[in-house]
């Protein structure tokens, strides 16, 4: 029983990294209706930005983290402004394919600049394990989870209560009405991408704090896609629950059935959910009024 609890806590903690990346995915999808397949590569590139400023340029981790996050947000703004904005009004499939391309380009650049080997990030999160009664949780995982919780909480407050958050929600429901109320929807698009840049970088840095960063870090985003589908594409709160759930299930399946099962059982569950409830667990069914 204790072992099960221990695996469960580890699973929830590792699900935390899905949560931030999935939030970034949802915010872009809600504001702009674009399926951002470069989410994983934005995670990876944001992590390298942190590595660049902290380790390579020697600014230390506090300044390095600030500069890394700002650079990640600027990169996201540049992607929106230079590659997606000129294509507004084209079929969505075109924009989605562009995000695929952006992902490949980022992966290529990361390989050119930083090579294929693992780069270790500085030790920010304490390594010392946390004991909850008899249950042991690895220190980095636990503190990473706490960090995710704080960031996700702040983000959800901002999204729910701030004016900018309200503007994003309004734009996602009805662009025409939002514009007639004076919301500059192009600014909303930019803001959504900037937030996505911050969230992906944070999620990448927390992920890489355990095993380091390689240009392949972004591949974890495939799991994030499953999380987003499970939650139902548009639900900010649902993504948090779905992210934790997928992380938990991966760990439990891995622990009791082995790594071979771990790589597909969670996705089988997602598939079954999609059959039963195609709009996802927390998704809204969009009904167009006539």
């Amino acid at each position: 029983m204790n072992l099960f609890l221990e695996f469960s806590l580890i699973g929830l903690a590792s699900g935390g990294i899905y949560v931030l990346a999935a939030l970034s995915f949802v915010i872009v999808y809600k504001a702009t209706n674009i399926f951002n397949f470069a989410t994983g590569e934005m995670m990876m590139f944001g992590t390298y930005f942190f590595y660049l400023f902290d380790t390579q340029l020697g600014f230390g981790w506090v300044a390095g983290l600030g500069m890394g996050l700002v650079s990640a947000a600027l990169l996201a703004l540049a992607i929106e402004r230079t590659m997606l904005r000129p294509l507004l009004g084209r079929p969505h499939i075109v924009l989605v394919m562009v995000t695929f391309g952006v992902g490949s380009i980022l992966r290529g650049f990361a390989g050119l600049f930083w090579g294929p080997n693992v780069r270790q990030l500085p030790e920010i999160l304490p390594r010392k394990p946390i004991f909850l009664g008899d249950i042991l949780v690895p220190g980095k995982l636990a503190w990473g989870f706490v960090t995710v919780g704080v960031i996700a909480g702040l983000f959800m407050l901002y999204y729910r209560y701030s004016r900018a958050g309200t503007a994003i929600r309004a734009t996602s429901i009805d662009q025409v009405t939002a514009e007639s109320l004076g919301i500059n929807i192009r600014a909303v698009f930019l803001l959504a991408w900037a937030l996505a840049g911050l969230l992906t970088a944070a999620s990448g840095i927390i992920t890489a704090s355990v095993n380091g960063v390689t240009p392949q870090l972004g591949l974890v985003a495939l799991n994030v896609l499953a999380v987003v589908m499970l939650a139902g594409m548009t639900s900010v709160g649902g993504v948090v629950i779905a992210g934790l759930f997928v992380g938990w299930m991966e760990t439990i399946v891995g622990a009791y059935l082995g790594a071979a099962w771990q790589s597909f059982i969670p996705y089988l569950v997602v598939l079954v959910v999609m059959f039963v409830k195609p709009s996802g667990l927390f998704g809204e069914q969009r009904v167009e009024r006539i």
Binding site: S162, A164, A167, R169, G182, L191
Partner: protein, 257 residues
Amino acid sequence: MATDILDVAGVNVAFGGIRALSDVSLRVPERSVTAVIGPNGAGKTTLFNVISGFYRAQSGNVMFAGADLLSQPAHTRSGVGISRTFQNIALFPGMTVAENIKLGAHAQLRANLFSAMLYLGSAASEERAIERRIDETVMTLLGLEEFRDSSVSGLPYGTQKRIELARALISQPRLLMLDEPFAGLPTAEKAKMAGQIRKVVAETSVTVLLIDHDMESIMNMSDQVVVLNFGQVIAAGTPGKVQADPAVIEAYLGAEE
């Protein structure tokens, strides 16, 4: 003689080969109620969408309070003092009545999206001021107090129409554009809506431009009626004058042989 707050001059809009508006001109005097009527497909909503900035006119001008409108993007309308409602109620489901109305004042808050992200303090005090204005003015004016914090989704149709009107009014517009304010309302509520619109005009300095099909309401409450048919203005004037116009009778009832 009141000055004209809105001056539409020679506007042409075509979608492919279909001329939706041809050479449409009309003037809206300040602090008046002007109604645009016409059979379905006459171009009324197209005209609204041109003024709102959602459609582009191939030629012609729209001046609002002496400034050119058509060169400005749609989201600037609210800031210069033009607000509107939609034919199908366009409230944001899942938000409360107060949140919906607050969005109507969005363009008036000085903090823009990015500064609102950074300077939470001043943005928050601006929002509190807006909330006070919502409670003290439009809620009471339109009798919405009891619904303040309910989600808009389950509310009756007539109430939703009043919420949309409240959202359009909270920005204290100079021009209020109403797209079919009477559509779908039972007779008693039509009279109530007409009364509320006239009351708003009397108590604030707003000018109203509206579209509707409900002849009785329009003839009773409008100062000026403009009739569109096949994208052209066929008559304009006081309700009495327009009702007697042979071209208008022909458009609605068909020509006598």
